[in-house]
């Protein structure tokens, strides 16, 4: 199955839940397992939240692009903002690293995104924005005789 969506929405926190619903709906035809669904929802939620809090520093005038494509059972998702960008991506990826400890950010977003996906990439330029792309192969393929679903 091949399919793709492109969605642009304002950087409002209420859209974190909306983005999760969209991605759930997008992969629903593949009948993913509940663990896969939770992992993908969580990663999208982290990426959109990062765009809102860090990319736009909660300025709701910003916009977020969510692109998702399916090729067979490989899902590829990109969440991008046109916000302030990340100066040092490697530093930002360190578990528990946060620039917003006073806002009670856990600093776990990138660690979660990396561990719940098969491939994960962050590209960012200061003042240009940040793009987070991940890939995940859904094991719930039509070839259910492989017994993965058990």
């Amino acid at each position: 199955m091949t399919n793709e969506i492109n969605l642009t929405f304002p950087a409002k926190s209420i859209n974190e839940g909306f983005a999760r619903l969209v991605i759930m709906g997008f992969i629903a035809p593949l009948d993913p397992s509940s663990q896969e669904l939770t992992e993908i929802k969580t990663v999208v939620s982290e990426a959109v939240t990062n765009a809102i809090i860090h990319g736009y520093e909660s300025d709701e005038n910003g916009v977020i692009d969510l692109k998702a494509s399916l090729e067979g059972n490989k899902l590829r998702v990109t969440v991008s903002d046109r916000g302030r960008g990340i100066e040092n991506v490697e530093e930002a990826k360190q578990p528990l690293f946060t620039t917003k400890a006073d806002e009670e950010r856990s600093g776990l977003g990138f660690m979660i995104m990396e561990s719940f996906t098969d491939a994960f990439e962050v590209s960012s330029s200061v003042s240009q924005g940040t793009s987070i792309t991940f890939e995940k192969v859904l094991l719930c393929d039509q070839s259910s005789d492989e017994g993965i679903a058990s």
Binding site: E16, I112, F116
Partner: protein, 117 residues
């Protein structure tokens, strides 16, 4: 896309029951409710019951960690129960389970707190 917070306190312990979704959007509601109670009563320990929570991401972990930072200066503690497998995995991977204890139920939490007190 909302959260329901129900709270009850007993002997300096605040029991926090959550249902719905805990993300960055709903975390403000939870933080405000907790701060309100913690400012007006002498809370040293918090026990978060996440059993009824349909979704939680790292914003929720941030709130829990924030409460730990608040109570640790009074030798308080924060415990969590009813974690979904992926949330549990996140707690363990990040090392947070070293400071925020994962317990089976409120009874176990109360026993541990009695030991600390």
């Amino acid at each position: 896309m909302s959260i329901t917070v129900s709270l009850h306190s007993e002997n300096q312990v605040l029991f926090v029951n959550l249902s719905g979704e805990l993300d960055h959007h709903t975390s403000g509601t939870l933080r405000n409710r907790l701060n309100e109670v913690m400012e007006n009563s002498n809370i040293r320990h918090l026990v978060f019951n996440l059993k009824q929570l349909d979704f939680m991401d790292s914003s929720g972990i941030g709130i829990i960690l924030g409460r730990y930072n608040q109570v640790k200066k009074d030798n308080g503690s924060v415990m969590v129960l009813g974690l979904r497998p992926l949330v549990k995995k996140t707690f363990e991977m990040s090392g947070l389970s070293q400071i925020i204890k994962i317990v089976d139920d409120e009874v176990e939490a109360a026993e541990i707190i009695r030991g600390i007190a």
